[in-house]
């Protein structure tokens, strides 16, 4: 991680938005992915969704940008029902980072990062893309003109993060953004993301199967199992009192608590 140089642009003004899901249920045929899940994220907070594969954490995250449409329940972003407008208008206001970056292989880095500002018709799309690159620790002169396939895994995720941030969204949806990286690169990215969050104050929903990551980055940790929300609390609160045998076992297994 490069330390922010003198020419690092000042963090832009973002208005963080509240997220709210009320009794959300999603079924795929006979399989229930989410059952009456309710979640509240206050503006500027970072909430981690944790649990095993199939627990429903990614499904819940994708309900917020309408990539998943639940059968029941109501979801609001910034107090507005997300079904009140066209899905693409909603999505342009929500930063999103998928597990493998999802960069457009036929576009250079700068064009990738400028995607959302351009969709929003921002006249300064390119400047925004350049400053977003800098914020994620990639120098414009080295990276703007590169093809995605020439980047390392860590660099690709930084570009994806920059792309999610370029239009200064009020919400960031991170779907296991560091999950596919090796341990050292992951630690680097976690560190720089933590730093970025203190500057940006953007509302963040983070899906991860890595409990250490959740405890490191989130203000609030939500544990899911079989499509239900078991527990949600601050990292300290969970450490002191996991409340549930499954949660305790999970935390113990991850080495977050002893005994």
């Amino acid at each position: 991680m490069r330390s922010p140089g003198p020419n690092t642009p000042a963090p832009p003004q973002t208005t963080p938005l509240a997220l709210r899901a009320q009794r959300v249920t999603k079924r795929y045929g006979a399989h229930t992915a989410l059952l009456s899940a309710s979640l509240e994220v206050s503006p500027g907070a970072c909430v981690a969704l944790v649990g095993e594969s199939g627990a429903g954490k990614t499904t819940l995250l994708r309900c917020f940008n309408r990539m998943v449409v639940p059968q029941e329940g109501r979801i609001t972003v910034g107090g507005r029902d997300i079904t009140s407008g066209p899905p693409h208008a909603l999505r342009r206001r929500l930063g999103y980072v998928p597990q493998h970056g999802g960069l457009m292989p036929h576009w250079k880095v700068l064009r990738n990062v400028a995607l959302v500002p351009r969709l929003l018709g921002m006249p300064d799309a390119e400047e925004r893309a350049l400053s977003a690159l800098q914020r994620t620790g990639l120098t414009a002169e080295d990276f703007a003109d590169r093809w995605p396939r020439s980047l390392s895994g860590g660099q690709r995720q930084r570009v994806a993060l920059a792309r999610a941030l370029a239009a200064d969204p009020g919400v960031l949806l991170l779907d296991e953004p560091f999950g596919a990286l090796d341990a050292i690169t992951r630690a680097e990215l976690q560190e720089s993301f933590a730093k970025l969050r203190t500057e940006l104050k953007v509302t963040t929903l983070l899906v991860t199967h890595d409990l250490r990551e959740a405890f490191l980055l989130a203000d609030m940790v939500v544990v899911l199992q079989g499509g239900r929300i078991l527990v949600s609390d601050t990292p300290d609160g969970l450490r002191e009192d996991p409340r549930d045998g499954y949660v305790h076992a999970l935390l113990k297994h991850a080495g977050v608590v002893q005994g």
Binding site: M67, H88, R91, G102, H106, R149
Partner: protein, 526 residues
């Protein structure tokens, strides 16, 4: 080929009767008599004889020789694209009317005349005087030794003989099976042999008996004896000028002239003229002129063409060079056929492939439908086109267009569907509309696969377009078809080599297009 006729005739019922490409009024109004032929030497020669006779009587004639199969040339006569071609009564009975074989030549002629006239207003003029039927031949020394004159003679000694027969003859009811029954004929051994190899095998003593066509020029050359069909087993195949309604109604004088050819020919003359074309490689027009002189129908005796002698001694390159302007014109026509049909196919199949990606429920059905078109034998598809579009460039373009649809459609659909799904999903999740995802992400990413489909279609098209010669559309198939007919390897190559070269050039040009449209980020060197 039979199996496809049911679906084809169903299609025919659905398709509008050939409103699109009826012969143009201009051509209809002209005084030109259009003469067709099938793609074998005798048919070429008879058509040329008809043409020269009519020309000598002051008619204007256009020649369309070498039209595909019986279906194609007869289709062209029915649709009015040609006015006349040489046909055989047995073929009319068995292949066109699909009736049972009969043995009496007069009966067969009377029957086909009646049915063709009432059904299609097509007229069989008086038979020319010879038959081109199946013939069974024995090597001369063997025939001498065993005293063989007739097929009944042959039946006596057949168990001691080896026969080399064409696979077709071995299977047809009017071939070996019927012959065995009629004469009690059973060979000691039968070997399937291709027509072209038979004479060689006979001369080298590998086989004793072969089947052939009674006027085959090579029978005149080889020292063989044709055995008499003393029980009249073989169906009669009398050669006859077959005349369509336009000629019949509008040119009674021409019909009269052609009718006067009736009874003037005989099999041994015909065999000798075929030999001059097939074996000695003389030009069809000079042999036709000689034939007319021998028949006493023209005074100008053509001297044996010396230029064709000279032609034979030239090197292949000199031969090609001598034909350069013809080959250039044929190549341009070929390119035109391929280019226009391919362009039309891309204009239809590319948007259709994209639309199917949005409607995956219909995709497999539609694409398989296009795939079925691909499985139709080209010659059958061309034959099917004739009632709808006549002969010439238009049906050739239509057939090539249909053949190009499948690769373009399939590759567009698959390419767009399978284009980097993660990128497409991320693009959607970041707020692109479905149309934006298609145009900005899926389509560029699918470009290499789509281009591969277009290149496949183009190369296949260059090859298939050589068959356009069978329906008189020209192109590099012309010398290939003529060369096959006249067993002239150099002529075949003079069409086949430029066609192969054209395929390479077209593929190379499209590779350049692909470099231009395929996104750079996908290439290894970036």
């Amino acid at each position: 080929m039979k199996k496809i006729w049911l679906p084809l005739s169903l299609l025919l019922l659905l398709a509008a009767p050939r409103a699109i490409a009826a012969p143009s009024p201009a051509e209809e109004a002209t005084q030109v008599i259009r003469i067709g032929s099938k793609p074998f030497a005798e048919s070429y020669l008879l058509a040329e004889i008809f043409a020269q006779v009519l020309e000598s009587e002051g008619f204007e004639v256009s020649r369309r020789p070498g039209l595909g199969s019986t279906e194609i040339v007869f289709g062209a006569l029915r649709s009015g694209d040609i006015d006349l071609y040489p046909e055989y009564t047995g073929t009319g009975l068995l292949a066109i009317l699909k009736e049972q074989p009969q043995t009496n030549p007069r009966e067969v002629f009377r029957h086909v005349s009646q049915v063709f006239e009432s059904r299609w207003q097509i007229h069989w003029l008086p038979p020319l005087g010879f038959q081109n039927t199946y013939a069974v031949a024995v090597r001369e020394d063997k025939a001498e030794q065993l005293h063989l004159k007739t097929l009944s003679d042959l039946a006596r000694v057949a168990p001691k003989l080896v026969a080399g027969l064409s696979p077709d003859f071995m299977g047809r009811p009017d071939g070996l099976p019927g012959l065995s029954e009629a004469y009690g004929l059973h060979f000691g051994k039968t070997r399937p042999l291709l027509q072209a190899l038979k004479y060689q095998a006979l001369n080298q003593g590998e086989v004793d008996v072969i089947d052939g066509y009674s006027t085959d020029g090579r029978l005149a050359q080889a020292s063989v004896r044709i055995l008499e069909d003393d029980k009249d087993f073989f169906p009669p195949y009398e050669a006859v000028p077959l005349v369509g309604p336009r000629l019949w109604k509008r040119f009674p004088r021409a019909v009269e002239v052609l009718s006067q050819l009736g009874g003037r020919f005989d099999a041994s003359h015909m065999r000798r003229w075929n030999q001059r074309v097939e074996v000695e490689r003389e030009s069809v027009s000079s042999v036709a002129a000689d034939a007319l002189a021998e028949l006493g129908l023209s005074s100008a005796v053509h001297t044996k063409a010396e230029d064709s002698e000279k032609e034979q001694s030239k090197s292949f390159l000199a031969y090609l060079w001598g034909r350069r302007s013809l080959l250039f014109r044929l190549s341009l026509r070929h390119l035109f056929l391929v280019g226009v049909s391919l362009l039309a196919a891309v204009l239809l199949a590319l948007p259709a492939g994209l639309a199917l990606e949005r409607a995956p429920r219909f995709a497999e059905g539609v694409i398989r439908g296009a795939g079925v078109l691909q499985t139709l034998p080209s010659i059958a598809l061309l034959a099917f086109m004739i009632p709808l579009l006549g002969i010439g460039v238009v049906p050739a373009l239509a057939a090539l267009f249909l053949y190009s649809l499948y690769p373009v459609l399939r590759n567009t659909y698959t390419g767009v569907r399978d284009a980097d799904d993660e990128a497409a999903r991320a693009a959607t999740a970041l707020g692109m509309t479905p149309l934006q995802v298609l145009r900005q992400v899926r389509l560029p990413l699918a470009a290499p696969v789509i281009m591969a489909g277009i290149r496949t279609a183009a190369v296949i098209n260059v090859g298939t377009a050589t068959l356009a010669a069978f329906i008189g559309a020209g192109g590099l198939g012309d010398p290939i078809v003529s060369g096959l007919t006249l067993s002239d390897t150099r002529m075949i190559l003079s069409g086949a080599l430029p066609a192969a070269l054209l395929a390479l050039i077209v593929d190379g040009l499209l590779a350049l297009v692909e470099r231009f449209v395929a996104p750079r980020g996908l290439r290894a060197e970036s």
